[in-house]
């Protein structure tokens, strides 16, 4: 399989498009009324301009490319002190905008290939990926522990390798191995069963999607698991009747949908399959009136937009051949594919729910602080940042915070504990399961 994953050198022209205007440092909207908010978790924590937003990250890239900067321990550290949330990217309007996260990841890839990255605590992930096919050092058999209640209740979940089904529920490593968020796959499978869907899981044969490896710059490891997964998915489609892959993890969703598309065999392997996030998948049932919320939930809730189901899914319109403006000109963006309205619509439809918004939402959502390998590399900072986000949620008067990403979920919970708040974090599937 051939991959079109650019090196930093290949992105040099894009790097030289940045004016250092600093527009990316804050999320500002004219309104009226004008709104303003911090958007860069790294900037909030570390503060120097180099740490701040794409202005800083591109300065690093520029320094590497023009030979001014050589690797030091601290420099590598600062390249990994970024959640790759894309908050900065959303503020930029120049031609390099579409590739800002790629520039950051390309620096990480360079650090890895030069033998200086990722950070020591993140190397554990790389090792775990190689030994266990997941970033949590979880033995294979533990992957299906969450299915026990279903076995007990005599409602077993199909092993899709053994029994065909049109829907593959791709659980993801976080839901399977990370105890505090294990209710995720449980709730998802429970909803699927309540809806009478014919679905299965890969069980012990599921391997990591490669998202974390990719975010850390470990491109070889990413390719290894991505290629294996793509082959599995093709096999499931060709031989086991699978038409749809549903995933409840924002990271897996982004990886399968976007990162895998960098392969020249993407169409061949995944062309016949629909890859969909649980939220959107369920929304289709909801829209068609096939999923009714019957019970009341008298909660005051707010919603946190995960980066991976939000701005990471923005589609950028680039003048590829120069026929409209010039070659490579960034023409505009399309947010239709971002999961902004769908979760909100479903939350609002739950009887008894009082839904309130935080200040920074949708494309200007403030990252929980867990992405880009930060939760593993810098757990303390990740939780501290999540505390800031939880505080923003508390300021709305909400008592529960909803999201659709197990990473955000875990990290926001850590943040809530850290600021000693009573804020409870739920995944949307947990709520839906409660009211179905």
């Amino acid at each position: 399989m051939k991959w079109d994953i650019p090196s930093l050198e290949e992105l040099e022209d894009a790097v030289w498009k940045c004016t250092a205007c600093g527009n990316c440092k804050t999320a500002y909207d004219f309104g009226p009324p004008p709104t303003y908010g911090e958007i860069c978790p790294a900037g909030v924590e570390y503060g120097f301009d180099g740490n701040m937003a794409s202005k800083g990250k591109i300065a690093f890239a520029r320094g590497i490319l023009d030979g001014q900067l050589e690797w030091t321990q601290e420099f590598v550290d600062d390249i990994y002190r970024c959640t790759i949330c894309g908050g900065c990217q959303n503020q930029c309007e120049l031609d390099h905008k579409p590739v800002i996260p790629e520039i950051i990841e390309a620096m990480r890839r360079k650090a890895v290939s030069d033998g200086v990255g990722p950070m020591p605590s993140q190397k554990v992930i790389a090792q775990s990926m190689r030994s266990y096919n997941n970033p949590y050092q979880g033995p294979r058999r533990v992957r299906t522990d969450w299915t026990r209640p279903f076995k007990k209740a005599k409602k077993p979940i199909k092993n899709i390798m053994k029994e065909n089904a049109p829907i593959l529920f791709y659980v993801g490593c976080t839901g399977a191995f990370n105890l505090p968020v294990r209710n995720f796959p449980v709730a998802t499978a429970s909803i699927f069963q309540k809806l009478g869907l014919d679905f299965g899981i890969l069980g012990e044969n599921e391997i990591c999607c490669g998202s974390t490896a990719m975010r850390l710059g470990d491109v070889d490891e990413f390719k290894r698991v991505a290629e294996a997964n793509m082959k599995t998915f093709k096999d499931l489609h060709d031989n086991h009747g699978v038409e749809t892959i549903v995933t409840s993890c924002a990271g897996c969703f982004r990886a399968i949908k976007k990162d895998y598309s960098l392969s020249d065999e993407y169409e061949d392997h995944l062309g016949g399959l629909k890859v969909i996030h649980t939220t959107e998948f369920l929304f289709n049932y909801f829209k068609e009136g096939k999923m009714e919320f019957t019970r009341e939930l008298p909660w005051k809730v707010t919603y946190h937009d995960p980066c991976h189901t939000g701005r990471h899914l923005i589609q950028f319109d680039v003048d590829e051949d120069g026929s409209r403006q010039w070659k490579g000109s960034y023409m505009g963006k399309n947010e239709e594919t971002c999961l902004y309205d769908i979760p909100r619509e479903m939350i609002r439809a739950i009887p008894g729910i009082d839904f309130v918004e935080m200040e920074r939402i949708r494309s200007n959502s403030y990252c929980c602080g867990g992405g880009g390998g930060v939760m593993t590399g810098y757990g303390d900072w990740a939780a501290k940042n999540a505390g800031l986000r939880v505080q923003e949620a508390l300021d709305t008067g909400a008592k529960q915070m909803i999201s659709i990403c197990p990473f955000c979920h875990f990290n926001l919970n850590e943040g809530s504990k850290r600021i000693k708040s009573n804020m409870k974090v739920y995944d949307l599937v947990e709520l839906i399961d409660m009211v179905l």
């Binding site: 004016t19 205007c21 303003y36 120097f48 690093f60 309007e93 120049l94 960034y330």
Partner: protein
């Protein structure tokens, strides 16, 4: 892991002391951090600071200054570095004093219409806070993330300058740490700690800290006049075939003092983005286009402004002007009237095609000199394949005017940077010889200004600088004295 590259001037003892003052996390001599402060978007050559320090309170600023003064280390104040003149690029290395962490809005006095803010407060932050009181400031057409305080002390201009003049004229009081570390106050807050409403009627010592390019002290708090926000916006847009007719129109309309912002731009500047390299203007479109921004409290007030505007158009038409009511390009108009501006702030309309670089000959030039200077600039810029993307703006009615060419260029290519630099300096000379004065001048401009200056003026500057900064540590070299 490779070794940290050899450093020319950093001294770990100095770093240690700076860390003691502001905390480990807020001071560093690491090269990758310093590198990010070594350049900006202008043609000014990059230069590395030796240390970066982020104070979080006034006492820390004082300690840093005392230490720097004692050790004779240069200090360059910085908030966002977007001044378009390399003013935060340290000519002499030393400490880059990043003030962004002092970003409290201390007071918004909704009755007396002033606010007290710290230097790290951005336009975006201030705008959203003021909007809650239906108040506004004269926002520059620049990055929303840049500092309101730095804009004001640098004689910046904004969307209300047509009515109220420069943003430095809005300063009501200041707290400043001198280069030697003492804390001083100017304006009413100097007499009564809590009174930040006016610099007058005291002697105007606030002038010691405005327009000095960060060479005389570190502003730690600033009082600024703010203004009510009338609900009805009406923008009058008109075009002319040439700068002469445009200048006449702006002068006549300016006489009535009904506009918050009264600006004319050449065709090249009205494009999003400015064409780079130079592209000829289509022959069937006018060369100049203008917007006149007015705000009214009532429909009747708006109608009265419309009546005045029509009178002006009639007056100009009678003079034989090519003036016509025109549609201003939609995005360009939003960029200039929805302030602070995301579009201009992101430099989209300036550099998107040029590629990362912009500099300007930005000047205050009397309205009657706009025409001859523009015609010369056009020749200079076009000869170098650069667009004559020029703006003219009235301040305070017709009292004075801005004349500026915004020049994009690709930062990746040294020859293109030099081409732009030479063109801009040439333009500047023409303007200076016509009585114009550049604002936020990079050193290249400073040299040209000082060459022409009265010897007594230069001597006075030197004496004031010597009095305030005996060791010449603050933004060393920027005044080109």
């Amino acid at each position: 892991m490779t070794e940290m590259p050899k450093r020319s001037k950093t001294d770990s003892q100095i770093t240690k002391r700076l860390c003691e003052i502001v905390g480990e996390k807020n001071a560093t001599d690491m090269k990758h951090i310093r590198y990010a402060y070594s350049y900006d978007l202008s043609f000014v050559m990059p230069k590395l600071p030796d240390y970066v320090v982020m104070p979080t309170n006034v006492e820390q600023v004082q300690e840093v200054m005392k230490f720097a003064n004692q050790e004779k280390i240069s200090v360059t104040p910085f908030t966002a570095g977007t001044n378009i003149g390399g003013l935060c690029i340290p000519e002499n290395g030393g400490i880059l004093l990043d003030m962004k962490r002092m970003n409290r809005i201390i007071r918004i006095d909704e009755e007396s219409h002033y606010a007290i803010i710290e230097p790290g407060v951005s336009h975006a932050q201030f705008a959203s806070a003021l909007a809650k009181y239906k108040l506004r400031f004269s926002w520059p057409v620049g990055p929303p993330s840049a500092s309101t305080s730095s804009c004001s002390i640098s004689h910046g201009i904004g969307g209300l300058s047509g009515r109220y003049g420069l943003n430095s004229e809005e300063i009501t009081s200041m707290e400043v740490v001198l280069p030697t570390g003492e804390l001083v106050r100017v304006g009413s807050c100097a007499i009564q700690e809590d009174a930040w409403h006016s610099c007058l009627p005291l002697p105007r010592v606030d002038g010691l800290f405005t327009g000095w390019l960060g060479t005389t002290g570190v502003v730690t708090k600033i009082g600024l006049r703010v203004h009510p926000m009338p609900p009805i916006l009406k923008v009058f847009t008109a075009s002319t075939e040439n700068i002469g007719h445009m200048a006449s129109y702006l002068r006549t309309l300016g006489n009535y003092e009904i506009c918050d912002d009264l600006t004319g731009v050449s065709w090249w500047l009205s494009q999003v983005p400015i064409p780079y390299p130079y592209k000829p203007k289509p022959s069937d479109v006018p060369e100049w286009i203008s917007f006149a921004t007015t705000f009214s409290w009532t429909e009747k007030e708006k109608q009265a402004r419309e009546e005045i505007w029509k009178m002006v158009v009639d007056e100009e038409t009678k003079k034989g002007s090519s003036l016509k009511e025109t549609e201003y390009p939609e995005e360009a108009l939003r960029a200039r009237t929805q302030l602070p501006s995301q579009i201009v702030g992101s430099t989209k309309n300036y550099t998107k095609q040029g590629g990362a670089g912009i500099s300007w000959p930005g000047t205050f030039t009397p309205v009657n000199k706009w025409e001859p200077v523009y015609e010369e600039w056009k020749k200079i810029l076009m000869a170098r394949n650069l667009s004559p993307s020029v703006r003219v703006t009235n301040y305070r009615g017709v009292h004075y005017g801005m004349l500026r060419a915004m020049i994009p260029f690709p930062k990746k290519d040294p020859a293109s940077i030099e081409n732009a630099r030479q063109a801009i300096v040439e333009c500047l000379k023409v303007d200076l010889d016509n009585g114009g004065i550049p604002y936020k001048p990079p050193v290249d401009f400073g040299l040209e200004i000082n060459k022409r200056a009265h010897p007594g003026y230069i001597e006075l500057l030197k004496r004031v600088k010597q009095m305030l900064d005996p060791n010449d540590i603050m933004n060393t070299g920027k005044l080109a004295l």
